[in-house]
Amino acid sequence: MADSSTQVGPPTNVLAGAARLFDYWAIAYKRTWKGSAISSFVTPLLYILAMGVLLGGFIKGDPSKLEGATSYLSFVAPGMVAAQAMTTVFGEVTYPVMGMIKWHKTYFSMIATPLGVPEVILSHLAFVLFRVATTSAVFIAVMACFGVFSSVPGVIAAFFVQLLIGLAFATPLYAFSAGLKDESAFSLVFRLGMIPLFLFSGAFFPVSNLNAVMESLARVTPLWHGVDLTRMLTLGVVDWSMVAVHVAYLGVLALAGWLWAVRRLGRRMVL
């Protein structure tokens, strides 16, 4: 990226344009990363310690009740990794997006250059993905020390799944935030969206513990697909047809969200 300042003329394609904005995100994060350290790294580890290790000590490691896991810790760890990927996205794609449009107006200065709306969104999403990648990598590395993963390829695949989960939440949520006029809706997004997803999408307990209606509701949430996919990979109990369903679901969500985001931000910024 060092040579981006020496380039002259408008960028040739969307990717090259988005790459030029990378400097902005890198500099901004270099100044604020400390604030995100506690919420990104300490929080999930405390949850693992409390729920996985200590509460898990009171739970019998019965694979038939824990979707194939031999201990509650190895059941809850992949769930927490996936849930953390989601909560990171919620943190990065709600208030910050509104800030860039409404409060700091940084987006307006970005599109005053030869860069357009798709470039702005792409580079912002790249930064969000970077946040998801770093927090997931740290989380997965620490969990590996607890010996809860079954194989190395499974863990690596689980890491890439986190990026897919991140993207599947990031694009639709981005589109939602991009068109929003007032920030008070965000507290509802957190309380009625993120927290129920966090608590009921199979991260803490098998969704089959819910009643029939709630269970089928949980199975259509994107987080459940992400949790189940991550768990299958880390436990090494892989059902490939389900993998295909999960990947397709998350992929379609990410793509649809992207198209919606370009439309919605375009209307807000350009027209």
Binding site: T32, K34, G35, I38, S39, V42, T43, L46, Y47, L49, A50, M51, L54, L55, G57, F58, I59, K60, K65, L66, Y72, S184, S187, L188, R191, L192, I195, P196, L199, F200, F204, F205, N209, L210
Partner: protein, 270 residues
């Protein structure tokens, strides 16, 4: 004319009483929240979600815990813990973020001090508001607990005042700490203290999970005192320890309140 000057003089000579000042501040907060009522209402849902998820969902994996000699189902064990923790979290929101915003950004307290209100009125009024809010949430949560059959004693009626004590303790101390905050980033330290309390104060599992040394530390934390107090009330197993918890929480709240007043004096009146 003479009548007017005497009444003005009398008003200036006798500023509003403590009760009137608190009432005014409560009314002000009510007006401010009237348009954001859904934020107020949705705050109640958070502990209920936790209760259903952890208590009911995870509860199916656990046979139950022993508390004061009797075995109780997991949901019954977790519910008072969630209630106490949400009393802490609820009062935290008003006493940290919202208090900081009013103090630093919209200069609300400067404006209030331009009226006959004093710094003590502000500290007391703001704390009363967060207690009122917390009390409403607790009462609603208690109704959910009763409906789910998670309450086994009439002592449970005292759970609402008990959560007010938790709110008082955390509200007072956190407001005091907030007066020292420099920026929003500093609030990460509050999270660093309250999140471990939320997770480890015998909310989700009994304290027997810890080795003895850690156990002592946990028993000294204010949230643990609050959790145990609530659990003793909902199961009807009161002891002298309950009295100690009450004294602890009240003392913590009052000390916090005194510091808030002194700090507001220093920040706003000099």
């Amino acid at each position: 004319m003479a009548m007017l000057t005497t009444s003005v003089g009398r008003a200036a000579a006798s500023p509003v009483s403590a009760g009137e000042a608190t009432g005014l501040l409560l009314y002000r907060n009510y007006l401010a929240y009237r348009r954001a009522w859904y934020i107020f209402v949705s705050g109640f849902l958070e502990p209920v979600f936790y209760l259903f998820s952890i208590g009911v969902g995870v509860g199916q994996l656990i046979s139950g815990f022993e508390f004061n000699g009797q075995t109780i189902p997991y949901a019954e064990f977790v519910a008072p813990g969630m209630l106490a923790a949400s009393a802490m979290n609820g009062s935290l929101l008003d006493s940290t973020f919202n208090f900081f915003f009013k103090l630093k950004y919209n200069k609300l307290f400067d404006q209030m001090l331009a009226t006959p209100l004093t710094t003590m009125d502000i500290a007391r009024g703001e704390l009363s508001w967060s207690l009122l809010r917390g009390g409403i949430y607790s009462a609603a949560f208690l109704i959910v607990m009763v409906a789910m059959g998670l309450v086994s004693s009439w002592w449970a009626l005292l759970v609402v005042p008990a959560t007010l004590l938790i709110g008082l303790a955390f509200g007072g101390v956190c407001m005091a700490l907030t007066t020292y905050m420099r920026s929003w980033q500093d609030f990460e330290f509050v999270t660093l203290a309250t999140l471990p309390m939320f997770l480890f104060s015998a909310t989700f599992f009994p304290i027997t999970a810890f080795p003895t040394a850690v156990r002592w530390i946990v028993e000294l934390t204010p949230l643990y005192r609050g959790v145990v107090l609530c659990r003793e009330l909902t199961t009807g197993a009161l002891s002298w320890g309950s009295v100690a918890s009450v004294v602890y929480l009240v003392a913590m709240g009052l000390v916090g309140l005194m510091i808030v007043r002194r700090r507001l004096d220093k920040l706003l009146l000099t």
